[in-house]
Symmetry: C2
Subunit: 229 residues, 2 copies
């Protein structure tokens, strides 16, 4: 399986690239600039060691090559990026939107959100792509900085929202490849309307305590098996 990370040169995207490549996956970093994509892939290989399988290219080519396509871009540029890759994302592929509609996109505060017309950034993205693409929303509350700090355990759950259960479980499997992360089935894609805003709440908590690594865990999981089991 090939994994693409659109916006893979950013904090969150590069962190995801490092973690997934370290777990043995082949990751293709997408960037607006092919050179920057290639240079960032080179940097990832230097950090991870020679066995790591990371390539870098344009967002469009990365979208074409990935079986699972993560999109980790700021909300302000999200729609443009989706329109740019649209023709390159074949029906049946899994796209994982990681966007939170923070108010910083319109000059506001990072602990506030704006309300996307479609309900959530993930639903807005789904409306741009071919209807046959399987859209999943995840990784909103996991910090890019922590993902990049490979020596440090991640103490977080990842809320995964999606209407296609198999696609959601496939993304959940990738989450569980990253040590100490655990996926939580948060419901269908519309639940991203809540999960995306939780990023802003975490930023508010960080602000209140002057820290920068707050995260969420879900409790009450003693009895959990697979979702729906």
């Amino acid at each position: 399986m090939d994994i693409s990370v659109i916006g893979g040169t950013g904090e969150e995207g590069f962190g995801l690239t490092l973690r997934l490549a370290r777990a043995g996956q082949h990751v293709i970093i997408g960037s607006r600039s092919e050179e920057k994509g290639a240079a960032t892939a080179q940097k990832a290989v230097e950090i991870l060691g020679g066995d790591a399988r990371v390539d870098g290219t344009t967002n469009e080519l990365a979208a074409e090559r990935g079986d699972v396509i993560f999109v980790t871009v700021p909300y302000a540029g999200q729609a443009d990026i989706y329109r740019a890759i649209k023709a390159h994302v074949a029906p049946g592929k899994i796209v994982v939107d990681c966007t939170s509609p923070l108010a910083t996109a319109v000059g506001g505060r990072a602990w506030h959100v704006i309300r996307p017309w479609h309900g959530s950034a993930a639903e807005a993205a789904k409306a741009i792509l071919d209807p046959g693409v399987k859209m999943v929303a995840a990784f909103h509350t996991v910090s890019g900085e922590q993902l990049q700090d490979l020596e440090r355990p991640m103490d977080s759950d990842v809320f995964v929202c999606g209407t296609d259960k198999e696609a959601k479980a496939a993304v959940g499997k990738l989450v569980d490849l990253i040590p100490d992360l655990r996926w939580v089935d948060a419901g269908d894609l519309t639940q991203a309307r809540i999960a995306e805003t939780m990023t802003a709440l975490l930023i508010s908590v960080n602000r209140a305590y002057k820290i920068h690594d707050a995260g969420f865990r879900v409790t009450g999981r003693q009895a959990w098996g697979r979702p729906g089991a």
Copy 2:
């Protein structure tokens, strides 16, 4: 200090009553019916033992007597209850709104929310009361059922939102009286726009795993002291 619980005969309110009274607080249960309030207080004393200080009365009298006034009512009746107690809540008092605007209020699903005109149910409540009342929002993601199960540890954090820092800290102290609960300063009252919706996400998680006791913990707290410290 006297603590009132408006709607104290409901699941969440009765659970809060039991936990706070067990921690040694004097709790006044408010109900639409004085008789029902008194009977529920009697039931609490029977559960907790003769030392417990729990009284029951009308919502109006409970509001008048409490220094801290919890309001634990379904969203469908929330505005009516606030209008009923409005004249009885003196400026300077602390009111803790525990409402989540679940779509069940309008015949929808418990894992969906509706959007209050004021941004959050807590801000809507604040708009009804005297501007001198100190409004705090909390306890949205803690289950009433678990609060009532006194032998079972609560594995949850309580997100506390409020603009008055002293009021928020006073409510935080009450949270910390309940074993295994921990308060988290989630920011000002507008953050209730996010915290209130997280109830619906938990219900969605419960639904996905066929469980009923999912809760939230915030991680990254090793470095935490008091908010703003």
